[in-house]
Amino acid sequence: MRNPLHTPFAAVFSNEVLLNIKRVAPYVLMAFFASNAILWWGWGPAVQRGWATNSEFYIARNMGGFSFILGLPIFTGIIVGDAVIRDFRLGVDPLIFSKPIGRGSYLLGKFLGNFFVLVCCQSVFAITFCALQWVPFSRMVVLPVRFAPYFKHFFFVVVISHLVLAAVYFTAGTLTRNAKVVYGLAACFYPAYIGYQLLLKGLPRIVGVISDPLGWNIQFGFRPDVWSRSADFLNQYVLNYGPAAYANRALMIVVTTLCLVLVYLRFRIDPVEKRSDHLTKLTLVEAPGRIAYTAPANGLLDLPFEPATARDRITLPKVTSTQGAAATLFKLFAALSVEFRLLRAERGLIVLIPLAIILSFFSVPFSRFATDVSYSVISATSTANMLLLLLGCLIVFYTGETIHRDRELKIEPVVWSTPAPNSVLLLSKWLAMTLLALSLVLVGALTTIAAQFYRGFTPIDLKAYVLINGIIVVPSMLFMVSMVVALNMLLRNKYVAYVVAVGAGAGLIYLYNIGYNHWLYNPLLYKLWQYADLTTLTILAHRLYCLALAAACLFLAHIFFERKS
C-alpha cells in the first residue's frame, strides 16, 4: 500500500507549508494575533465588567470578534488567494505539470497547505489566550484552567468561517490567475459584508442564520438575551451550539466543497492568452535556409555572414550627451517619472486609496454638537490623525518596495552602469514616494471637504485644512519617508526594515500613550498639538526640527547607498 506521506498530495501540501515558513507574512500575523490576545485579555472589557477571562462566554465572544475585527478576512485572501497564481508567476508550472501529478492532488494540496498555515497563524491567538490563564492580573476573575472551550470555539467560529472564505479566494485566484482579483475581493469584504447585513434586515431571520459566513447572525450560538446578563451568570454560562448554528456551519462546509469542485472542474494548466498577435514568434517552418548551420572549415565563422538586410544597414544616429547641473536635474526628473509610474502600478493602491477615502469620509462628525472650534478644524484634525497612521503603513511598505525594486527585478546592474549620480537614483525614489503620499493626503483632504459639504457643516474653513496638513501632516510625512529610506539603506533588507519600522513605531506610540511623550522623540507631534498652537513659533520650531531630522536621514541614506561613485 502506498505511504500517504509519499503521495503527490502530501508533496504539494508540505511544499506549500515550507514556502510559507520562508515568508514574512505568517510571522507578522502570528505576532499581531498574539499581541492582540494579550491586549484583549489584559485590557479588554472582562476586567472592568467582572467577566472571567477564561469563561466560555468570553472565549466565544473573543473568537467571534477575532474572526471579524482584526482584518482576518483580508489576511485569509493574502495567504490562500495566490497559491496557484504563484506557480504560474514564477514559471514553475511546466516543471510541476510535467510530473505525474493529478489535478485534484495539486489543487487540494495547494489549498489545504496554505489553509493549514493560515490556521496555524490564527491558532496563535487561541493558544496565547489559553496560556494567559496562568498569569492573571490583580482584580481579574479567572476560573479553573480549561482547554476544551478554546479548541471548540476556535474551530467552530474561526476555522470554519475562514475555510469558506479561503475557498472563495482560492477559487477566484486560481480560475482568474490574477492576484488583483483576490486582493480586490479581500478589499471588498467589509463593505460587502456590512451591505449584506443591511440586506438581511428585510428578509426572514432564518436566511441570515443559515447563510452568514462568519456566524454573526447566529450570535455564535448565544441565547439572544445573554448580553444583558450579570457577570456571575455569564461566568458560569455553558455554550452549546444549537441546530441553527450546526446548519450554518454545515452549509459553509458544503459551500467550501462546491468551490473546490468548481476549481477542480474549471482549472486549466495552459497559459493565459496574452496579446499573442503582438509577439514575435520563431517559426522554424518559415525560417530562411540561409541560417542553416554549416560545418566549420577551420573553426572560424561557423555561422555564415550574409549580406546585411535593410534593418542591419540602419546606422545609429549621433547624439549629444550633456553633463553638469542641468543634466543631473534632467536625469532626476526622468528617474522620478519612471519611479512614480512604477509606484502607481502597485496593486495595493487599489485597496489603499478607497480605504483612505472611506476613512476620510467617516472623519467628519455625523451630527452637530457644541464645540469651540469649527467643524472644518474637527474634521481636518480627525482626518490628519487617521491619515498619519495610514501614511505610516503606506510609507513603510511602499518605500521598501521602491528602494529594493531594482535589485529584485535585476535591473540594478543596468541602471547602476549609467552615468546617473547616486543622488539622482536615491532622490528619485524618495520624491516618488513623497508624491504618492502627498496624493493620498490630497485625496483625504478633498474627501473630508466633500463629506463636510455633503453633511451640511458649512462654511468650509479652507485655512484649517491648509494649516493642519501643511504644518502637521506634510512635514511628518517627509520625515517618515526619509526615515524609512534611511532604514532600508542601512539594513539592506526590506523585511528587516519592515519589522524594525513597525516595531519602533508601535513601541513609540505605546510610550506616547502611557505618558512618555516629548517633541524630541516625537517628531510627528502625535498628541502634542492643538489647532490653536499651529501658528505659534514653538510649533514652527518643532516642525523645523522634524524637517532637519528628515534631511539628516536622507543624508545618512546617501552615505550608505551601496553603489560606489
Binding site: K274, R275, H278, L279, T280, L282, A287, P288, I291, Y293, P296, A297, N298, G299, L300, L301, D302, L303, F305, E306, A308, R311, D312, I314, T315, L316, P317, K318, V319, T320, S321, T322, Q323, A326, A327, F330, K331, A334, A335, V338, R341, L342, A345, L409, K410, I411, P413, V414, V415, W416, S417, T418, P419, A420, P421, V424, R563, K564, S565
Partner: protein, 290 residues
C-alpha cells in the same frame, strides 16, 4: 586601449574569483571565454564599475576606470548576463529612460535614437508593448539595444546570445562586428566558443580566476596544427583513450564511439585520422589541462 593589470577579487565568502588577471585590449571585439564559475562575470562587473576589486588597476587610454567611476559610466555600454526590466513600462519608454540617464537631453535626438535602436534590434513592432509580456529573446534584444545608447567607447556584453534564436544571434553578430570599430573596445564574455570565433579579433581564456591564454583565435588554432585526431573506437576502449590522451569529445553512434583527441606528434591508433583543428579544440585543450 584598455589595460587590466593584476586584478584580484575575493568575495566575503572566501571565494577568490580573480587571481591577478592582466589583459591588454585594443579596439575591436575581444572575446573572454571560460567555463561557468571561471570569473568572467566578476571581471565584467569590475570593469563595469559595479564591483570593487581588492587590488589591481584598469585604465583606458590612460584614464583610471576604477577611481573615476562617473567618467567610466559615461563611455560605458553594459549588458549583464542576468538582467531584468520594469514590467509595466513599454520597450520604447524603457529605452527612452536609459537614454535620459545617459544624458541625452535633446528630445528630438533621443527619440530618433530610440526609434533607430528598436528598428535595429527588430523590436519596432513591439515598441508599445509592455516589457512584462516580452519573451526571453525579446528582452535580450532590448538589453543589447540599451547597451548601444550614446556611442559607448567601452561595451561589455556578458553572455549576450543566450536566449536568442539563430536568426537573431546572427543579427547580433553583425551588430557587434560593426560596433567594434577603431574607437570602441567591445568585451564579449561567453562560454559559446563559436561566438568568439565569429566575432573576435583577440580572445582570452579564463579558468578559476586565472588567464590561461591571451591570443588571436588564429594563433590558438595554429597551436594545435597537426595535433587533432578523430576516429571511431569500441565503447570499451574509450577509458583507455581517456587515460592516455586529451579527449575533446566522444559521441556514441550505433554502439561505437566517435572520439576527437589531441595528440601532438603521435597518432593515437590505426582508427584515427588527422583533422583540422577548430577553436573549440584549443579551448577544451587549455581548460582540460588547466
Amino acid at each position: 586601449m584598455l589595460v587590466i593589470k593584476d586584478l584580484v577579487k575575493t568575495y566575503a565568502s572566501g571565494v577568490q574569483a580573480l587571481k591577478g588577471v592582466s589583459l591588454d585590449l585594443s579596439p575591436g571585439v575581444f572575446g573572454l571565454l571560460g567555463p561557468n564559475g571561471s570569473g568572467k562575470t566578476t571581471l565584467m562587473k569590475i570593469v563595469a564599475t559595479l564591483l570593487e576589486p581588492d587590488s589591481g588597476t584598469i585604465e583606458m587610454n590612460g584614464a583610471d576606470l576604477i577611481a573615476r567611476k562617473d567618467q567610466t559610466r559615461r563611455i560605458l555600454g553594459y549588458l549583464p548576463q542576468d538582467f531584468g526590466l520594469y514590467p509595466t513600462l513599454t520597450a520604447w519608454q524603457m529605452l527612452d529612460y536609459f537614454a535620459k540617464l545617459k544624458g541625452v537631453t535633446n528630445r528630438k535626438e533621443r527619440h530618433t535614437l530610440v526609434d533607430a535602436l528598436l528598428e535595429r534590434v527588430n523590436l519596432s513592432a513591439e515598441r508599445s508593448q509592455r516589457l512584462g509580456e516580452f519573451s526571453g529573446g525579446m528582452r535580450q534584444r532590448l538589453g543589447i539595444a540599451q547597451a548601444l545608447i550614446g556611442e559607448p567607447e567601452l561595451i561589455i556584453v556578458d553572455e549576450p546570445t543566450s536566449g536568442l534564436d539563430p536568426e537573431e544571434r546572427n543579427r547580433f553578430h553583425n551588430l557587434i562586428s560593426e560596433t567594434g570599430n577603431e574607437n570602441t573596445v567591445v568585451i564579449l564574455s561567453t562560454h559559446i566558443v563559436s561566438d568568439v570565433s565569429n566575432l573576435c579579433s583577440r580572445m582570452a581564456i579564463i579558468r578559476q580566476g586565472k588567464i590561461l591564454s591571451s591570443c588571436t583565435p588564429w594563433q590558438g588554432i595554429d597551436e594545435l596544427k597537426e595535433s587533432v585526431w578523430e576516429g571511431t573506437v569500441q565503447r570499451e576502449q574509450l577509458a583507455v583513450f581517456k587515460s592516455q590522451f586529451n579527449v575533446i569529445s566522444s559521441r556514441t553512434f550505433d554502439g561505437q564511439v566517435r572520439v576527437r583527441v589531441i595528440s601532438k606528434g603521435q597518432r593515437p591508433s590505426e582508427e584515427f585520422a588527422q583533422t583540422p583543428p577548430v577553436l573549440e579544440d584549443y579551448y577544451f585543450d587549455l581548460v582540460n589541462r588547466g
